[in-house]
């Protein structure tokens, strides 16, 4: 029984991280149909900001964390201005390929100007200590991560439902032209979406860095690949879908780690992706997305 609870909690914290990342992808996708593969590089920007603070001998964790989040938000805004504005009206495939291109450019900029090797960042290790409650062993980081994700979901919900700009963001995912007709500036809506996306990337960056303790140019690629999958499974562009997909992926991954025999250890990813593919074959647009009409809309 304890074992089951233990693994359930593990799945929850895995899922929380994926949900955090998937939300960052989904909020951008819901508005402009862009699959932002450069999200992972925004996480890496946060990581390198921590390196910069460490080299300036600033160890105050609040400053380090705030700095990483702000850097990620600024990076996200900059990408929107520089790279994604020209493809704003293009189809999802064009956007996806652009984002791949941006991601390759940023990875290689880190490689060229910083270092191709991992750089250690020790300033966040204090976040991670073992806790034991009623025989269940946990890492404090898992608790923080799950709590943060819950807070983020609630805050995002309040923002999207209670503020004008939030309403505009939600409305923009349905009918962008209509939003513009009501006098809301398109650029502000896009900037807001990317700002939120950057904030979520910054938060995810803190947890990833606290766990890994080092940053390298490819830091964000694998987590974002998983988050991308979570988004698609949940229903691309749907925010509840992103959360659901994130937790589902966490559960599947922990289940695979637990159930697969040791000898198949290297195949975890293969099985996770296989299950994802099967879900997509069952529901091609993801679990929570409404059916799309393919014909012309009048």
């Amino acid at each position: 029984m304890e074992y089951v609870i233990q693994q359930t909690l593990n799945a929850l914290s895995f899922g929380a991280e994926y949900a955090l990342l998937a939300l960052g992808l989904a909020i951008v996708f819901s508005i402009m149909g862009l699959v932002n593969f450069a999200h992972g590089e925004i996480i890496a920007v946060g990581g390198y900001t921590m390196v910069a603070f460490a080299s300036l001998a600033i160890g105050n964790p609040v400053i380090v964390m705030a700095g990483a989040i702000i850097a990620a938000m600024l990076a996200s805004l900059t990408l929107e201005r520089v790279a994604f504005r020209p493809v704003r009206k293009a189809d999802p495939t064009t956007g996806l390929l652009t984002a791949f291109g941006v991601s390759i450019v940023l990875q290689n900029i880190f490689l060229m100007f910083v270092s191709p090797r991992p750089i250690a960042v020790t300033s966040l290790y204090f976040l991670d200590w073992p806790i034991e409650i009623a025989g269940i062993r946990l890492a404090s980081l898992q608790v923080f991560e799950t709590l943060t994700t819950i807070v983020v979901i609630v805050a995002l919900m309040l923002f999207l439902r209670r503020t004008v700009l939030g309403l505009a963001v939600r409305a923009a995912s349905l009918d962008f032209e209509m939003v513009r007709l009501t006098g809301i500036k398109a650029n502000r809506v896009f900037a807001m979406a990317f700002l939120i996306s950057g904030l979520l990337a910054g938060l995810a960056c803190i947890f990833i860095m606290a766990r890994r303790g080092s940053v390298d140019p490819h830091l964000g690629f694998d987590p974002v690949l998983k988050a991308f999958v979570a988004c698609v499974v949940g229903g691309f562009g749907s925010l509840p879908g992103a959360v659901l997909g994130g937790f589902l992926l966490g559960a599947v991954e922990v289940a695979m780690l637990v159930m697969l025999p040791q000898s198949l250890g290297g195949m975890t990813d293969a099985f996770v992706f296989m299950i994802v593919a099967l879900i997509l074959i069952w529901r091609p647009d993801g679990i929570l997305s409404p059916a799309v009409e393919k014909g012309d809309k009048l």
């Binding site: 020209p86 493809v87 291109g101 290689n108 060229m112 698609v232 293969a270 296989m274």
Partner: protein, 343 residues
């Protein structure tokens, strides 16, 4: 006597023009190139076959495919496993199951088996993939890439994972790969102009409209998918039959993006675009790699700049998407550049 339509006749003219270019580049390299340059041009031709295999599905059905390098890998490994002599396999694959180390076949038979295996796998996967729409289909192809790579890494007793699978006899030289590339160009071009190709392109422009006109979209996508996989398998075989060693690493994300960038730059809708993009990026990147090593140019010693080629590749994708989403060629094939505007 088969009667060809006007677009098929002009397709043959276009294929002949592209073949002339391919022969010219090949002959020039054979006569003037150093060993290193011949290797370079050979790999450019292999990538050209990959890009052509990608174009058949991506260009006609317009669904982004990310699994092409996996199919190339399947073809390469299958051919390598068949053709490598027993005595070498006994050393390199001592634990190979199912008697894989106890036989060896001649290159032609090995290639045929490799193509058949890839085609069957592609057919089975394709049954599911062709029913999905844009992003969903792309994700499933991504899943295929990850799964195939994981299998290559996991079954080290068959594929040797990231270590080199060595001892493949060198069967092909540059002349062979030029010939095969020309064949691939002709096949791709004829498919594009065939009844199937035209219907498939129509379905990419307007899925509902094409279906209403009686186009069997799923069937056509499946045909293009399997044909593409066969061409990719051929590319893998060419790769293995020249280099003599293969490993899992070249069949993963880096290669996927490299070949995708080639197709996007040239323009995925046309065969000419595939050829142009491959040559531009293959030879352009070689120039950038030279700059990466920190050469002395005009008396100025440039710094070493690792990662420059990656930046260039990413920038090509971003700029193409921003300024010319349909690539350099757009919807134009090579022969329309020469034809007088009579229509």
């Amino acid at each position: 006597m088969i009667r060809l339509s006007a677009s098929q006749r002009s397709g043959l003219v276009g294929a002949a023009l592209l073949a002339a270019v391919l022969v010219a580049v090949g002959v020039a390299t054979l006569y003037f190139g150093s060993r290193y340059q011949i290797r370079l041009v050979y790999s450019a031709y292999v990538n050209l076959i990959v890009v052509l295999g990608l174009q058949v599905f991506m260009g006609n059905a317009r669904i982004t495919n990310l699994s092409h390098s996996a199919f190339m890998g399947i073809g390469a490994y299958a051919a390598a496993l068949c053709v490598t002599p027993e005595n070498i396999k006994k050393i390199s694959l001592p634990a190979a199951p199912w008697g894989l180390a106890d036989f060896s076949l001649d290159p032609v038979l090995s290639a045929a088996i490799a193509i058949a295996i890839t085609a069957v796998l592609a057919f089975l996967l394709g049954l599911f993939i062709v029913r999905l729409t844009s992003i969903g289909a792309t994700i499933v192809t991504l899943a295929v890439l990850v799964i195939v790579h994981a299998v290559f890494l996991y079954r080290t007793d068959i594929f040797k994972g990231n270590q080199a699978f060595f001892g493949i006899p060198q069967v092909f030289d540059l002349a062979w790969v030029v010939g095969i590339a020309i064949l691939a160009v002709i096949v791709c071009r004829l498919f594009r102009e065939s009844r199937w190709g035209i219907q498939l392109r129509a379905s990419a422009d307007d899925e509902v409209g094409a279906a209403a006109m009686g186009v069997e979209i799923y069937k056509l996508r499946l045909i293009a998918w399997v044909l593409g996989a066969v061409i990719l398998a051929v590319a893998g075989i060419c790769y293995a039959y020249f280099l003599g060693t293969i490993s899992a690493r070249p069949f993963y994300f880096n290669h996927v993006f490299l070949t995708l960038a080639m197709l996007i730059l040239g323009g995925m809708r046309t065969v000419t675009g595939a050829v142009l993009g491959t040559f531009l990026i293959s030879f352009g990147l070689e120039g950038v790699r030279y700059l990466e090593t920190g050469p002395v140019l005009l008396g100025i010693e440039l710094p070493e700049a690792l990662g420059l080629s990656g930046i260039a590749l990413g920038a090509v994708i971003v700029l193409t998407m921003a300024f010319r989403p349909t690539g350099i060629m757009g919807n134009r094939e090579i022969e329309t550049l020469f034809a007088r505007k009579t229509f």
